[in-house]
């Protein structure tokens, strides 16, 4: 039966995350963003992370027996929205660490969990990162290109009982701040990347493993993307996550079912800008009446709310599908993530218009939301790849999916 009621646990967690976001993140968001301009690698608010850890937020993705909540996709989305509506970069960090802890919890061996997740749970500042994108391969990985010349190049060669990794990653989320890494390497250079890549677990302090430059981004500063440089990094066989050449296998795919989570980037960012604009429009008196009584402003707000509610609806359905395998459609996930990008761009720009010229300055929060919204353009897939995936999936379907 169709139902839109959240569970008690979802409501409880939502309350905690919302409170944390408003009380801890909101006061520091503008300053962190400003710091990132001069020091992209040094702007991360470690105290806020520690406070989150104390509340159990950092480790929500862990299995319940390890103290986490083993977040399902919908709950993940609901909680993520709350952070995104305040500090999208920090929210994106949560997203990474939640799903990666869960990923290791689900597919890791007992030994791997002991070696990685137990220290992760105990260290209030420990984050997890995954390195996939390389300078020459982005879309080739996500809209898989079948030529052996494309996709991941970072080489992984077996020597004795160990894998030796050499290569470079970039745009790696949380790389600057993380201590645990999953690195995807090409274990079979003669197969197309989707069948010849493997995930390796690596501690940051492994010899030969080095964090390169932190990227200086126009938004989402606290996601702390950086380069990874691997020079003869030796990884024991026991740190292969799932099997060799299974880096993009079906087994890894539940990880790919996170598109509704990624869609939440756009939803939350849009909501943040919307809420700021709504308050401003209610509180600002212009020509003797609140700005919101101006028809053009009221209609802009209506359009913004419309896109936000539409996006939330699409995300919820996609997330529900992701949590209920028999109803899962990759297309639904792509729909939500494509649409959320449209939503974020439009809502944030509308919000900026409501603020007028002030909206173009950093004194008010909307220009930051607009910059942060750019994160939605290229997380997992570019916008156009999402569209293409949806389009190509339609040939079998002459009736609607619902």
């Amino acid at each position: 039966m169709v139902d839109m009621r959240l569970t008690d646990e979802q409501l409880e967690l939502q309350g905690i995350v919302r409170k944390f976001s408003r009380e801890v993140l909101k006061p520091i968001a503008a300053e962190c963003d400003r710091n990132s301009q001069s020091d992209p690698a040094g702007c991360f608010p470690m105290d806020a992370l520690k406070a989150a850890s104390k509340l159990g937020l950092r480790t929500l993705g862990l299995p319940r027996e390890m103290g986490g909540r083993d977040l399902d996709t919908l709950t993940h989305c609901i909680l993520l929205e709350e952070v995104m509506a305040v500090e999208p970069g920090f929210g994106a960090m949560f997203h990474q660490v939640w799903r990666l802890a869960q990923h290791i919890g689900r597919v890791g061996t007992e030994e791997q969990k002991k070696k990685y997740l137990v220290p992760f749970a105990e260290d209030d500042t420990c984050l997890i990162s995954i390195g996939q994108t390389e300078p020459a391969s982005g879309t080739d990985n996500t809209f898989p290109y079948r030529g052996v010349d494309g996709g991941i190049k970072l080489s992984a060669v077996k020597e004795g009982g160990e894998w030796v990794l050499n290569g470079t990653k970039h745009f790696v989320a949380c790389a600057t701040t993380a201590r645990i890494f999953i690195v995807i390497g090409r274990t079979d250079p003669h197969a197309p990347a989707p069948e010849g890549a493997t995930q390796f677990l690596v501690w940051k302090d492994t010899p030969g493993f080095r964090i390169g430059r932190t990227h200086d981004k126009v938004g989402g500063a606290l996601l702390m993307n950086a380069e990874l440089i691997l020079e003869n990094v030796r990884v024991p066989e026991s740190d292969v996550l799932m099997g060799v050449n299974e880096g993009f296998s079906d087994k890894a795919r539940h990880y790919g079912r996170g598109a509704p989570m990624v869609a939440t980037f756009g939803l939350g960012t849009a909501r943040g800008a919307y809420e700021a604009a709504l308050s401003y429009a209610r509180e600002t008196i212009r020509n003797g009446k609140p700005l919101i009584r101006n028809d053009a402003i009221a209609m802009r707000l209506a359009d913004m709310l419309m896109l936000i509610e539409a996006t939330r609806s699409a995300i919820w359905r996609a997330a529900w599908g992701s949590d209920n395998r028999e109803h899962y459609l990759q297309r639904d996930a792509a729909v939500s993530s494509y649409f959320s990008t449209v939503c974020a761009r439009s809502v944030c720009e509308n919000a900026m218009q409501i603020f007028g010229k002030d909206g173009y300055t950093r004194k008010f929060p909307v220009e930051k939301f607009l910059r942060d919204a750019l994160m939605t353009n290229h997380i997992n897939n570019t916008v156009d790849v999402r569209l293409l995936k949806i389009g190509r999936s339609l040939s079998g379907e002459l009736v609607s999916s619902l």
């Binding site: 039966m1 169709v2 139902d3 839109m4 009621r5 959240l6 569970t7 939502q14 919302r18 919908l74 609901i78 929205e81 709350e82 509506a85 909501r271 919307y274 809420e275 709504l278 609140p290 919101i292 009584r293 402003i297 009221a298 209609m299 802009r300 707000l301 209506a302 359009d303 709310l305 419309m306 896109l307 936000i308 509610e309 539409a310 996006t311 939330r312 609806s313 699409a314 919820w316 359905r317 529900w320 599908g321 109803h327 297309r331 639904d332 729909v335 494509y338 649409f339 156009d384 569209l387 293409l388 995936k389 949806i390 389009g391 339609l394 040939s395 002459l398 009736v399 609607s400 619902l402």
Partner: protein, 394 residues
């Protein structure tokens, strides 16, 4: 706990409506549209309506004791989508009766219910005519005046765009109380049987689309309405039972666009898989995939939003009237946009009356006029945002 599965009953009704639409409506849609194009006051497929009624579909919104199923907003949306996908004008006509029968059943006095509901439920060709403001329009639009006379009222003036005006046996109309102060004067909602003295059918509007939803003017000249036939909302404009009812069913207007656009999308997929240019089905050209994807996103997102809004309408516990309006606005913009893309994907064929996409497009444009204009809907939503704050993550 969040769930998107229809109940077995909903799924069965949905199948029934889809089958009915494919079997009885689609085959006659083009011909009736053409005929209505020549004579806007022309034929309505009464036989089809009879079959619709005999399947028990007409009475769904009524309580069980009147042969209905207490159909909620969610079910209304699901079924309406199916009918809209088959023939939007007929579907809109049925929708009016569902809406107004539900209104009487839910907001009427015992006397009104026992007088009018059996008339409706027992007559297979009983349609109701809608002269109310509906969920979107504002009271400014009313040109019908109601003056007190004893315990009743006298109606004078005109209603335009009365849905099912030429077809209905009973009208429900909003009128502005004369003598009331201010522009936002009090309005009353009256039940007016067709044969009432002083009611005359005016011009039938010659519309671009949804022609089976016959709409007309209705002229009132000293039409007496007994006090007993006034719905209870009087005097409580915006807060009464009727206003709440209309706010509640707003998502059903969203289902208009979802159904029509879905049909256009389905036909586009079929066409692009068949049509060969550049040596392969045009479906396989990336730019065509792109357009189909944009359409699919639009349709799916609209449906998701309509469903979520509809569920909240039925639930009422955490109800926010703005959610319903967002679903109408989104779906109403979406449907003409999607149908326009369908026309483009059909190339020259999209322009021909022999192909259905141009009809979907003409029908879809109706969605922009659920209120006086689409801007009216946007403004109405904007007004609701002055005081009320969005609840995050609902």
């Amino acid at each position: 706990m969040v769930d998107f599965i229809l109940t077995e009953e909903q799924a069965a009704l949905k199948e029934l409506c889809r089958d009915f639409g494919e079997r009885r409506l689609q085959p006659i849609a083009d011909e009736l549209d053409r005929k209505a194009g020549e004579d806007p006051a022309g034929q309505f497929p009464w036989g089809v309506l009879k079959e619709f009624s005999s399947l028990g579909l007409k009475n769904l919104p009524l309580p069980e004791k009147w042969g209905g199923a207490d159909m909620g907003v969610m079910t209304h949306c699901v079924l309406l989508e199916e009918l809209m996908a088959a023939e939007a004008g007929f579907a809109a006509a049925v929708h009016q009766s569902w809406k107004l029968a539900g209104l009487i059943a839910e907001c009427g006095t015992e006397e009104q219910v026992s007088k009018y509901i059996p008339m409706f439920s027992e007559d297979e060709t009983f349609l109701m005519g809608d002269g109310t403001l509906g969920p979107i329009s504002s009271a400014e639009d009313i040109q019908l005046a109601a003056a007190r006379e004893g315990s009743g009222w006298v109606l004078d003036g005109k209603k335009r765009f009365v849905a099912c005006g030429p077809l209905a046996k009973l009208f429900i109309v909003d009128a502005k109380v004369t003598g009331a102060a201010g522009g936002m004067g009090e309005t009353i909602t009256c039940i007016v049987p067709k044969e009432s003295s002083g009611v005359r059918l005016g011009e039938v509007h010659d519309k671009m689309g949804t022609r089976l939803l016959l709409e007309s003017e209705l002229d009132f000249e000293k039409c007496r309405v007994p006090g007993a036939d006034v719905l209870s909302d009087a005097g409580e404009n915006g807060s009464g039972a009727k206003s709440r009812y209309f706010a509640k069913i707003a998502p059903t207007l969203g289902a208009f666009g979802v159904g029509i656009a879905r049909a256009a999308l389905e036909k586009s997929i079929e066409h692009t898989l068949e049509r060969v240019q550049g040596g392969k089905p045009i479906f396989e050209h990336d730019v065509v995939s792109f357009r189909l994807a944009e359409m699919k996103v639009d349709v799916d997102v609209a449906r998701d939003l309509v469903w979520r809004a509809a569920w909240h309408s039925d639930d009422q516990q955490d109800y926010d009237p703005r959610l319903g309006l967002t679903s109408v606005i989104f779906a109403s913009q979406m449907a003409p946009r999607v149908c326009d893309m369908a026309i483009q994907l059909f190339g020259g064929y999209g322009f021909m009356r022999d192909y259905p996409v141009q009809k979907y497009w003409r029908d879809a444009l109706m969605c922009l006029f659920h209120g006086e204009t689409h801007d009216a809907a946007r403004l109405k939503l904007g007004r609701l945002m002055e005081t009320d704050h969005i609840r995050g993550g609902r």
